[in-house]
């Protein structure tokens, strides 16, 4: 370990060389034993503290409880973390800082700190700014996630996910029939079999033949095709395919598995793969004619998520994109499975995170069905069972609470829905409230979507002005009231449940506010926007909560990707082990949790949730 302070870490990397020198020359070291108070609430500080070794816990002394050592915990600071800066800016410390174990800190004298703040705006901004600005500042310096870089893109291979099915016709097939096939298969080209040879026939070839060469519609396509084909092997680098196309100025290649034809690759697909895989998956979903080909597209989505994360795409965009793609999979599966006669008499709802459009990786299936009153559909249960199983085979895990269309409880006629909602609303018991929350996030995706509107409106009307209901509805926010206590065992590997501790309070709190104020959109970010527009939350607060949610969702996503890669056991998908996070993430997470705490306090006051 170096005795000189490392100025490579934010915010110190904002300092000029001479400022960094000034800083490192003015630091002292201080040793604190276990349980020592470094800085107490209300105390003035004459230094900013940077942890060299050890752990410092930030506590709200008003919330200490003798029987619960973890009560009032706000945050933890470990190696390279900075605390006490805000106390200097504000004059006094708001919270108490106490060591959890023996700790050595660097002391940056107040005078030097203030001088650096004055000299260097970027450095000062780090301490003055809100979470949004801070994460932007940090993002500029953030190192790329290991093993998820762009090279994975360049190493992509010719595989099922990019293949188009080859439509093969015989040489004696007529122009009319061939055109019909192209349309039916939504393809751009056909392969023409002429004896043992294969030829390529594009839409342009057909158009030329009819318009320019005045062929009749019944003339055979055999002579029109070009038999000079280029091929790649299945599993070859996509990049090689691209080079081959560029070299020979062709737009399509035949893909062979050894000698067997397995499909085509098209230039446009390769180019969009390199620019965004999402387009290809979107096209695949649209083009899928069978449950199998739809499944291939659905399964490719997890890779898409990885590359989006690798490219540093903002998580809200990733959520929007994945929500759109998932919805298209549902619609397509619905249309393939539900007989056409019933499609306009039932409505498929997606609920939970999927309904809010906030899932990135495939999360539990939460779905339900509304059947129009008076429609008899005897095979309904069987078809819904099949629907659930199909999604399961596509990699959508089952809902542990069994909130799925395969469960007859979640398949109801419109009037049954009204009755059920009324019953749930009347009981203020936990499970009913949870079910209401799930339905509030429901989003109709397929079938007769208009069936959902009266049901949703019924639910919103039902609770208008019912303040007693809301104090029950919002209460679960406090269930994990001191989630940060999981931090307490920081030395161990317990970690922090980011879903319960951070994401849920925001999502559920915002949901309650939305229900109270008749805001019918389901996405949390959108709900926050509307709450700010209606001045129910201040603009700054709403924006910062959105950013906090984004930060925590991103951290959770990274953890889930680790699970997917098999590097972390599945039960730890929501569990962040704080010492394993890098300093940037710890900084952001701490800010985010501060906001969660503030939001909880706001909600407590708003709904009179006394503990």
């Amino acid at each position: 370990m170096r005795h000189e302070f490392d100025c490579q870490q934010p915010p110190f990397n904002q300092l000029s060389e001479s400022q960094a020198h000034t800083l490192s020359q003015s630091l002292d070291l201080a040793y604190y034993g276990q349980g020592d108070i470094v800085l107490d609430a209300g105390q003035q500080s004459d230094a900013v503290f940077i942890v060299m070794k050890g752990v410092v816990v930030e506590l709200d002394p008003d919330e200490l409880q003798s029987d619960n050592p973890d009560a009032g915990v706000i945050g933890h600071y470990t190696a390279e973390d900075v605390f006490g800066a805000i106390s200097i800016i504000n004059g006094r410390s708001r919270y108490r800082f106490r060591t959890l174990e023996e700790t050595i800190v660097w002391l940056l004298p107040k005078a030097i700190f203030l001088q650096l703040m004055e000299e260097n705006t970027a450095f000062a901004d780090y301490f003055r700014h809100s979470l949004i600005e801070k994460s932007r500042l940090i993002a500029r310096h953030a190192p790329r996630e290991e093993g998820l870089d762009l090279s994975s893109f360049m190493l992509a291979r010719v595989s099922d996910t990019i293949l188009r099915e080859a439509v093969v016709v015989n040489a004696d097939c007529s122009i009319e029939t061939a055109t019909g096939q192209l349309r039916q298969e939504q393809a751009d080209s056909l392969l023409v079999r002429h004896d043992t040879q294969l030829g390529m026939l594009t839409r342009t070839d057909l158009l030329d033949a009819v318009v320019m060469q005045h062929k009749t519609l019944s003339s055979p396509v055999g002579p029109l095709a070009s038999y000079n084909l280029f091929s790649v092997q299945l599993g070859d680098f996509l990049f090689n395919a691209l080079i081959l196309m560029t070299r020979h100025r062709v737009q399509r290649l035949v893909v062979l598995n050894d000698q067997t034809l397995v499909g085509l690759v098209e230039l446009t697909d390769i180019l969009s793969f390199f620019s965004s895989q999402s387009h290809v998956i979107g096209l695949q979903i649209e083009r899928a004619q069978s449950l199998d080909s739809l499944g291939r597209a659905a399964r490719a989505m997890d890779e898409l998520v990885q590359s989006l994360v690798a490219q540093g795409v903002k998580i809200q965009f990733a959520m929007d994109l994945l929500a759109a793609l998932n919805a298209r999979v549902m619609v397509k599966a619905f249309n393939l499975l539900v007989p056409e006669a019933y499609q306009q008499h039932v409505c498929l709802l997606v609920m939970g995170s999927e309904g809010r459009g906030e899932q990135v990786l495939k999360t539990d299936q939460d779905n339900a069905l509304i059947i129009d009153d008076g429609v008899e559909w005897p095979e309904c249960h069987q078809v819904m069972q099949q629907f659930t199983e199909t999604l399961l085979s596509y990699g959508y895990p089952p809902c542990p609470g069994n909130i799925m269309v395969s469960n007859p409880e979640w398949v109801m006629t419109a009037s049954q829905w009204h009755g059920q909602l009324a019953r749930w609303a009347a009981s203020v018991e936990g499970e009913s409230l949870m079910k209401l929350a799930i339905v509030q996030d429901a989003h109709p995706v397929a079938g007769a979507v208009e069936l959902f509107t009266p049901i949703r409106d019924f639910m919103f009307d039902r609770f208008k002005g019912n303040s007693v209901f809301f104090s029950h509805f919002a209460r679960p926010i406090l269930h994990f009231a001191t989630p940060l206590n999981l931090f307490g065992g920081l030395k161990g590997s317990e970690g922090l449940d980011i879903k319960k501790g951070g994401i849920f309070p925001i999502v559920h709190g915002v949901r309650a506010l939305a229900l109270e104020n008749g805001i019918k959109i389901t996405n949390t970010f959108e709900r926050l926007k509307v709450l700010a527009e209606r001045r129910l939350l201040s603009r700054d607060f709403a924006d910062n909560l959105a950013e906090a949610l984004a930060v925590m969702s991103m951290l959770r996503l990274r953890q889930q990707l680790k699970v997917q890669a098999g590097r972390v056991p599945e039960r730890d998908g929501n569990r962040l082990v704080i010492p394993e996070l890098n300093k940037l993430d710890r900084d952001l997470l701490r800010e985010a949790l501060h906001l969660v705490k503030e939001f909880k306090a706001f909600m407590e006051h708003h709904y009179h949730l006394e503990r």
Binding site: M1, H3, S26, D28, Y31, K53, I104
Partner: protein, 205 residues
């Protein structure tokens, strides 16, 4: 021992009116100075000074902002072996300060504070070898031997135990990070941190 006391008494008398008189006053403050010299060997009669570093310790704090860190001219005896130990090459020492100036600054830095160190007698012996010809006295400061303090504290907890007095082992036991081992300043700061730790509360068994 007797000889040393006699020599010190004589030094004090001779310098009573001189520039360095304050050095011979008993120390009243609450600071100590952690000192470490990088030497070219372990023989006090032959070892040369490569660099000298010192930091002040006040209460629970190591005042690294007030530090003394000087690299000296290349001594003749800086050979390949000590380069291996200290990762110092001859060229690093060019432009360093001559021993006399360095010692004058060091005296000014330490004043009459107690000197803390790890096997401090060796460092002091080498310093004295250079001090006496130039200034006419040995360092009069009281010294605190880190390894002895460590041994005493450990044996308070477990009298049977003969603790491991290797620098790295003590640091490990005390949970103090090893800072740039084998640089004078790094070792001085680590020594200071161990001292602060030893003066504070229970020792881990």
């Amino acid at each position: 021992m007797v000889l040393k006391a006699l020599r010190m008494a004589r030094d004090r008398r001779q310098h009573r009116e001189g520039q360095y008189a304050a050095l011979f006053e008993p120390y009243q403050g609450d600071e100590v100075v952690a000192l470490d010299c990088e030497l070219t060997g372990l023989d006090p009669q032959k070892a040369e000074l490569v660099s000298i570093a010192a930091v002040k310790v006040k209460g629970d704090q190591v005042l690294t902002s007030q530090r003394f860190d000087v690299k000296l001219q290349k001594p003749d005896s800086l050979d390949a072996d000590s380069i291996k130990i200290h990762h110092l090459r001859g060229v690093d020492l060019h432009g360093g300060e001559v021993v006399g100036d360095a010692l004058a600054q060091l005296l000014n830095f330490i004043q009459n504070r107690p000197i803390l160190g790890y096997y401090i007698d060796l460092d002091i012996a080498v310093l004295n070898r250079h001090l006496r010809p130039r200034f006419g006295f040995d360092l009069p400061n009281t010294t605190i031997e880190l390894s002895r303090l460590y041994q005493r504290k450990m044996q308070q907890v477990n009298p049977e135990l003969q603790p491991d007095l290797h620098f790295d082992q003590m640091a490990k036991k005390l949970g103090v990070p090893l800072l740039e081992r084998h640089t004078a300043l790094g070792d001085a700061i680590t020594t200071a941190l161990m001292y602060v730790r030893l003066n504070k509360g229970a020792i881990p068994v």
